[in-house]
Subunit: 399 residues, 2 copies
């Protein structure tokens, strides 16, 4: 069929085992997995179908298209789905009566969910997304290899910024140049986000006033964007001397994303913005020291709030005023908005193997956004950076 | 706030009026619009919130982020959403008891739908997506202007193919070069699809055997892709002489997409593939003549099946064997998979103002995909092409 690398079978086996443990603990008869990313995670293929994972025994991927490709790529048994109305019977005749069924309630559309539930009369739906996302938050060595390769690629971009950035070029031109380089390395140019209505291309490459324009995106920087129909990130605005140029970028390797932000400036940045950037670096260094297994997710966020306050920058932290984002960081992996979420109310502990992008930033309306971001692995002894580009402000000569 | 073009207020007023007519005819008290594209269509802004459209009177956009930007961009009243649990009360105290409520059941996640329904105790949910999509299928002059500009941009790409394609370059390299040019013209690099789990970057730029690799994507051509985690479209395969090179591309102007496919070859294409390409052109010309207001959507598809059969190419039409797509075309606009759908069972009539991409294609396993695609406007007197690149096979010199 083809020679693309496959997800190792042992990966899939380990993931399914862990997931089935959860099903048993939650007294679920099984889970119906429907979203392309979750299907890929649990089977090794992203073909179109639904995966039934019973609480024990072999799962089965019922495929619409392409059956042949799914059979070739998947590490689980594949069967042609046939008529959807018979799928419930097929599943119950193989696995027995399904009374409590796990569904991805955060992404599965309502209409489809009603149809699927109709296949299992009387079955009680239980959200399976949060526990599955929690499982996915802990990365294997295979997954870390992909993330590290992604980090190498975006490091190359940062190192190339001095030759890429020309005074007078637009945010869009810089974005296009970065995208082109990443694309040639195999980036798929699709940045997957799980949250409803969230979407992204490349990241956030924006400067000065345009970067500080508030918008819908659930992140610390918004961006003017190219149109009201895509109101975020790069715009047609020219890069001007003295303005902060935020380069918050990501790339995808075998489906895995890392996230990294660096700051550039043509000429010199004003003193108070340099200071704010230093505060963001200090916050990053402080939470780097705090992060270890057992620490609650929210603790890192609360610490950052405290430090922003001490610096007199509370109103500018993670967006300005009413448009502040209420988090400090997020997991990354097959999706850009994975668990953990470093935000108030999340008292769950960090676990060894989790991967988090931490991104303290400050927004100054009319002037720009400054800040930094690295992606980290939680190890037994603390956080270890996966992204590794130099953290100094990238200075571009103004002439 | 900014100088980006806004959607004209008269557009929004006309759209809301038409939508409220539907609400009245369907005896709905109102609709809760939650998806970013539908919100943009009915308000002119894509900020984060939910739009309540009552069956009559003024709608209201309850915004989470950014309220300031929504107020600036929207042609409807904007209010800060506040606590979600109080939203139902807010709406009912303004508009009265909500007993039958429209929801976008094809995209709204189950968990969110349950929360929203909980805000209106006893309310009956009714799908509002299909009628809203049907309304969106008919384009205004403003919308056609955006589509025509998009058509100009992808025409430029086709005209540039002889200088862009070099023997030995990979599908990915060609894709990156096309994307770079489109990006500099303002393409947002996000290709919106409504269907669950469908995603796309640029379109389908693929050649020979790789193009004919079956995959999940609900289209006539699949493509090998760059990884099992993105199993479609361009791969690392080199463009080789004598193979069909499918250039199925799109670009976005003020949110609007058109769709166009042309065929290129380095050197000469084998005779039977040239013949299959001619059959696809003949099908296109034939359905061009058939398409007019009042004709059922499925009729165009059924005609194409008949013509593929007459040519002895049934098994190759719109994919090969079991992996055939079961349609001939689809609407385009703010999303790439709009109504109408030219497929069996859709007996609804074409209406003046609808915009359809029609894409007869033939797949030859191990050899490639040939075919053509234009985007058309349904006028009172028949179909009028919006895309207009030359339809001959683009010949690239092999040396």
């Amino acid at each position: 069929m083809h020679h693309l690398p496959k997800v190792p079978t042992t990966e899939i086996e380990n993931r399914l085992k862990k997931f089935q443990n959860h099903l048993q603990q939650s007294q679920l008869d099984g889970a119906l997995i429907t979203q392309n990313i979750d299907i890929y995670y649990l089977t090794g293929t992203m073909q179109n179908g639904v995966l039934f994972v019973p609480k024990d025994g072999e799962p089965r991927f019922y495929v619409k298209k392409s059956v042949a490709r799914a059979e070739f790529e998947a590490s689980v048994p594949v069967e042609e789905m046939g008529r959807m109305k018979e799928l419930g019977q097929k599943i119950e005749s193989r696995y027995g009566k399904v009374s409590r069924i796990g569904l991805e309630t955060d992404v599965l559309p309502y209409g489809l969910a009603v149809r699927y539930l109709g296949m299992f009369p009387g079955a009680e739906p239980v959200d399976i997304s949060f526990p599955l996302r929690l499982q996915r938050a802990v990365k294997s060595r295979y997954e870390l290899d992909q993330l590290r390769e992604a980090a190498r690629r975006i490091n190359d971009i940062i190192l190339s910024l001095p030759e890429m950035i020309r005074p007078g070029m637009s945010e869009l031109e810089l974005t296009a140049a970065i995208e082109y380089r990443l694309r040639l390395q195999g980036n798929i140019n699709i940045y997957r986000m799980r949250a409803y209505n969230q979407e992204l291309a490349l990241g956030m490459v924006a400067s000065g006033k345009a970067a500080a324009t508030p918008t819908y995106f659930d992140g610390p920087a918004g961006g003017l964007g190219l149109s009201t129909a895509s109101p975020q990130s790069a715009s047609h605005k020219a890069l001007a001397p003295g303005e902060p140029i935020l380069v918050d970028i990501s790339t995808v390797v075998e489906g895995y994303l890392v996230d990294q932000t660096r700051l550039a400036v043509i000429g010199e940045l004003e003193e108070d913005l340099v200071r704010a950037y230093e505060v963001s670096r200090n916050i990053l260094k402080e939470v780097e020291q705090m992060g270890r297994p057992g620490v609650a997710w929210e603790e890192l966020y609360l610490k950052s709030l405290e430090m922003a306050k001490e610096a007199g920058l509370s109103e500018h932290f993670m967006g300005y005023g009413k448009d502040q984002a209420k988090f400090l960081g997020h997991g990354v992996g097959l999706e850009l908005d994975e668990l953990p979420v470093l935000a108030k109310g999340f008292k769950q502990p960090l676990e060894e193997g989790m991967v988090i992008a931490i991104e303290p930033k400050f927004t100054f309306p009319g002037r720009g956004v400054v800040g930094i971001e690295n992606t980290y692995l939680v190890t037994g002894s603390g956080l270890e950076a996966i992204t590794f580009a130099p953290e100094e402000i990238v200075q571009i000569r103004a002439d």
